[in-house]
Amino acid sequence: MIKLMNDWFRQSNKLERIWLMAKIEFKLRYYENKLGLLWALIKPLSEILIYYVAFEVIMKQGIPNFVSFLFIALICWNFFVESTSGTIQILKTKKYLYEYTNMNKMEIYLSTILSNCIGLVFNSVIFLVYYTFISGTEIPITSKALLMIPIFLNLILLSLALSLILSSIYVVAKDIAQIWTVVIGVGFWLSPILFKLDTFMQALPSLAYLNPISGIIINIRKVALYNEWPDWTMFGFNYIYAILLLLAGALLLNKLGAKASEYL
């Protein structure tokens, strides 16, 4: 089996192509600006500033190390928004790739999400540097922080799944883009990004399970900020969620997305 996979990778240029497209996509997004990669960082930093003033200075929520608390959640949230809202029209913008060839459309999605991952890794490194050297926290980062990797993977799968679903629906219903903007707007306030976890769980206990992003944010804070184990039930639940949505996404791509060259 492994030999077979190996042969397949060596013979085909799929991986090479996905990486090539991801690099070009990334360059298009960031390098075109004078500030380059810093843009990827400026967004969460400016958001942190706004929310810090609102929730710590004015409302005095009293969350210790609030900047790190926000930083790690916003990294996840922004990745999710960029990978979903930012890709709804992907079958239209990348039509030039498949309108004359039999290229597998899945490669377009993989390369786009990979290019977003470059930003995710960059932001995570900045976060870790901030948390360890600047935040002045007393809780040290331990090997438990390695669990950020499977949690990020969960986030990536979930984002890919929704990207597939939304962009396939776009083929037959263009206003899905507007609808998703509303969902994202509501979703932001229904996720534990700004609130204390206890307050959030007391007020909306079921939402931690219903909203797949909630679990991801709760768990990533546990491993990155509090040196705790993740909530394994939630962890498993979130993975199942992502995988089921991914299957639905693949199905929709095959049903609706496959007709993109006719409809778009």
Binding site: K94, Y98, T101, N102, S261
Partner: protein, 241 residues
């Protein structure tokens, strides 16, 4: 070994009077589904193209040639049946699809990679593609700043130099000026007819007769005949006059 194996494929287009392409529109018209007219562009057929073969497709305008080639190239999804394509395909009218936001260099790498080439292979033919398109001075310019002629040359150059495993040529010899046509024919004869699988769509019986070993004759979306080229042309001409 077959390059394309199609079994029971068909394609029907539903042409609607008003397009229900938003969620809002669909919800408000839930009990009032759009009236649509079904057009059977390709009726159920089997089709096989062997590796290395040059196959022709002929038929009058509206007989379904273009739809059939789009299905065989994997660009359109078939409504029924099963289609197996071994290798990369390129549906070529003028060239490859390109992004206007990218530079000529990026477009060359992406398009050639989509056609199945590895980065090393693209490195090797890069200069050839650029000089064929006569764009040496504009390699790192975004193609949105190109004239339409420059874009067309680049697109054609990538297509001819990279080339997919299976090429679909839709009236390629009828496009462009004389010089362009000569160039196209030269490349076609020297590098595609040998070694690549080619599906040729043309109204020119001379072209079909010259290159194709087998030819498909289509009429009203139906595959009337697929086999000996002379016989197919004979049927086509008999129907025309």
């Amino acid at each position: 070994m077959s390059a394309i194996h199609a079994k029971n494929i068909s394609k029907t287009f539903h042409i609607t009077e008003d397009s229900h392409n938003t969620v809002k529109h669909r919800l408000f018209n839930i009990f009032n589904p759009p009236r649509n007219k079904a057009v059977e562009a390709v009726k159920k057929m089997n089709f096989e193209v062997k590796k290395g073969e040059c196959v022709g497709i002929i038929g009058r305008n509206g007989s379904g040639k273009s739809t059939l080639t789009r299905i065989l190239a994997g660009v359109y999804k078939t409504d029924t049946g099963h289609l197996k394509i071994n290798g990369s395909t390129l549906l070529m009218n003028l060239g490859v699809g390109m992004s206007h936001e990218l530079t000529a260099r990026e477009n060359i790498y992406i398009s050639a990679s989509v056609l199945g080439l590895k980065i090393k292979e693209i490195d090797a033919i890069f200069d050839q593609i650029v000089s064929f398109a006569e764009l040496e001075e504009f390699v790192d310019t975004k193609i949105k700043y190109f004239s339409s002629g420059m874009v067309a040359r680049l697109s054609f150059s990538i297509a001819v130099n990279a080339g997919a495993d299976i090429m679909f040529l839709d009236e390629i010899f009828a496009v462009g000026d004389m010089k362009f046509q000569e160039k196209a024919i030269k490349v076609f004869e020297s590098s595609w007819i040998e070694g690549k699988t080619v599906v040729l769509i043309s109204h020119s019986m001379d072209v079909i007769q010259k290159y194709c070993t087998r030819t498909a004759y289509m009429k009203h979306g139906k595959l009337e005949y697929f086999g000996n080229t002379d016989k197919a042309i004979e049927l086509y001409l008999a129907d025309n006059f």
